[in-house]
Structures are given as structure tokens and as C-alpha cells.
Symmetry: C2
Subunit: 193 residues, 2 copies
Amino acid sequence: MAALETLIEALRRLPGVGQKSAQRMAYHLLQHDREGAQVLSRALAGAASDIGHCERCHTFSEAALCPICADEQRDARLLCVVETPADQAALERTGSFRGYYFVLLGRVSPLDGIGARQIGAEQLLARAQDGRVEEVILATSFTAEGEATAHVLGEALRSRQLRSTRLARGVPVGSELEYVDLGTIAHALVDRR
Amino acid sequence: MAALETLIEALRRLPGVGQKSAQRMAYHLLQHDREGAQVLSRALAGAASDIGHCERCHTFSEAALCPICADEQRDARLLCVVETPADQAALERTGSFRGYYFVLLGRVSPLDGIGARQIGAEQLLARAQDGRVEEVILATSFTAEGEATAHVLGEALRSRQLRSTRLARGVPVGSELEYVDLGTIAHALVDRR
């Protein structure tokens, strides 16, 4: 049946969803939650069309400026660099950081041909040289690629006389920031070096 | 952010998807697969609007008659009763059954007030009394509720002089039919008693 096959195929594009899970989801929606299928359909279309990127920090945003960049009460001396909007959301939920963010939307990966240019290092340098930023906190993941990213960006910032720090090593090495418990992230923010 | 929150909330309606998985799916689609979000949105809307139920066997179908009921080459003497369209699909994939199906869309559950009437026993009896059906194979799950369903339907069929059989006990007791491996289902079909 074409519509059912199409739905199962489309559900498999979700991360972590294989053939069996996709089938189970499709049958569940059709048999028990057709309203849920409509709700999810509209939410997906709405998100894909309405959510762009903040022109200043590059995180997901429906407006030109995200709510954080638009908030003038935050501390303009601190700029925190993260790899993804999910990482930014995790940091923000700790409630321990009152500065602004810059979202790279990627990380340095020489084997894949992704260098400083591809992750927007130039935009970061321009953002950090606004005359108000005094410290750039490099909050990339503590994986090999995240460390390489922090190293490359730290060197570039130093060559322009900008001070950069790294999250403290309270964060377990080898883990993705998004999944670290909030207490650990908060502690690492305080202990940044 | 409203559109992102709405999307995460909608993804949580999928079976087996909690808050963390929903977040991961939403961020993945927005960051790496916006086309996938559009494709899934259209597939969900299409399935919810186009897929109804076959008027004869009640399985999911885009047409008034599903492809199996519309196939006149199958054996009209055999009618196989299953709980869900997913169970029917599993049986059909074994390639061991050439008769027709009847999908209950539920199972007897006295504690929830679901009896023979609620699962469409009357429609099944009418379907089985078409003058061509000689044997009704009760292929409900081998769970307590599936067994109760088979018992109730078997009694009703017997009172109308209709012969009913049950899948052989090759199927592991306590398991859901949908997830049984195809070889076991094929064996159970041959050994029906």
C-alpha cells in the first residue's frame, strides 16, 4: 500500500529509527492516534518553514535575532562558543551562564575536509571583535573533534589578542555535551580555565 | 521557541519516544535533514487522509477493497482472523497463506469493557457465513487477551456450525504475533489444529 510504505520510509529518516520501529510507529498512528499524525505533520511543516538561524549567533530562531541575542540584559563581555543548538540549550538550562552564545553548527574534522572556514571561524572572529567581548568561552565537546575545534579557534582568537577559555575538565572526556548532566556542566562553567 | 517546542511535543506522541529522543530527532531534522522533515510531514498528512479501512476485512486500505480482498485468485474457503493490520502483514509476508483475512482491530479485554461486540464479532460472523468460507483460522496473539478473544470467537462460530481452528502452538506463548519470526509463523500455519 503506497501511502503506508511512504510513511514507513519517511519515519526511517528519524535518527535511531529502523524498519521495525518505523512500522510500529506507522501502525500505531493509523490505528490509535490519527490526530497525532496530523499534529506531527503540521509541527514538522511549521518547524521546517518557520525556523531559521539567528543572524548574530546562528542558533535556531524564528525571528532575525534569537531571544537570547535580543536580550540586552545579558553580559556582553562573555561569549560562549558551542557546536550545536542542542549544546546551547543544555548550557542555557543550567542557568549558570548570563553571557551570549555563538553556535558553530559543526566542528573541525580534517578527515572530512571540514576546517576552520567551514565552521564559520571568520564570523566568530568578527562577532568576538565587537569591542565588548572580553572573553570567549570555548564550550565545544570534549571529543577529539571538539578539542581540535577549540584548539583551532583558540589560536585564531589569540592571534587577534582575544582571550579564550575552555570549560573546566569536570565534563567527562569523550562525551557529547548535550547529554551531560546539568550539575556537571554548571560546575565546569565555574571552573573554566 | 514555539515551533521547536511544538515539534518536540508532537514527536513525543510516537510510541517509544521520550523527551530526550524527541529533542534529538527535532535537532537532527532541523540541522541535517530539513528535506526529511518536509517528506515526513507530507507522508503523515497523506497517510492520515488517504488510508481508511477495507470494507470487507477492515485492514488499512486506500481503496474500498484492500488488494487481498480484491484478489479473486485466493482461496475463499479459508478466512484468517487477526487482531491488527500489523499481524496480518506478518502472516502475509510468510507467503504460507492463500485465503482471505478478517482484521478485528482489537481484542477481548473484560477489564477494559471490551467484549465480543466491540471487536466486531457480528461482522466476522456475517463475513464467515458468505456460503464459501469452510474454515475460520483464529490467528489472534497467544497472550491472555488473544486467547480469550479466540475462545469467544470460536464459541460463537461453533454455535453457527462454522469450523474454526487455531494457529499451532509453534508460536511462543506470551508473545505478540507481529514480532514472531516468519519461519515460526509459517510452521504454525501448517500445524493449525
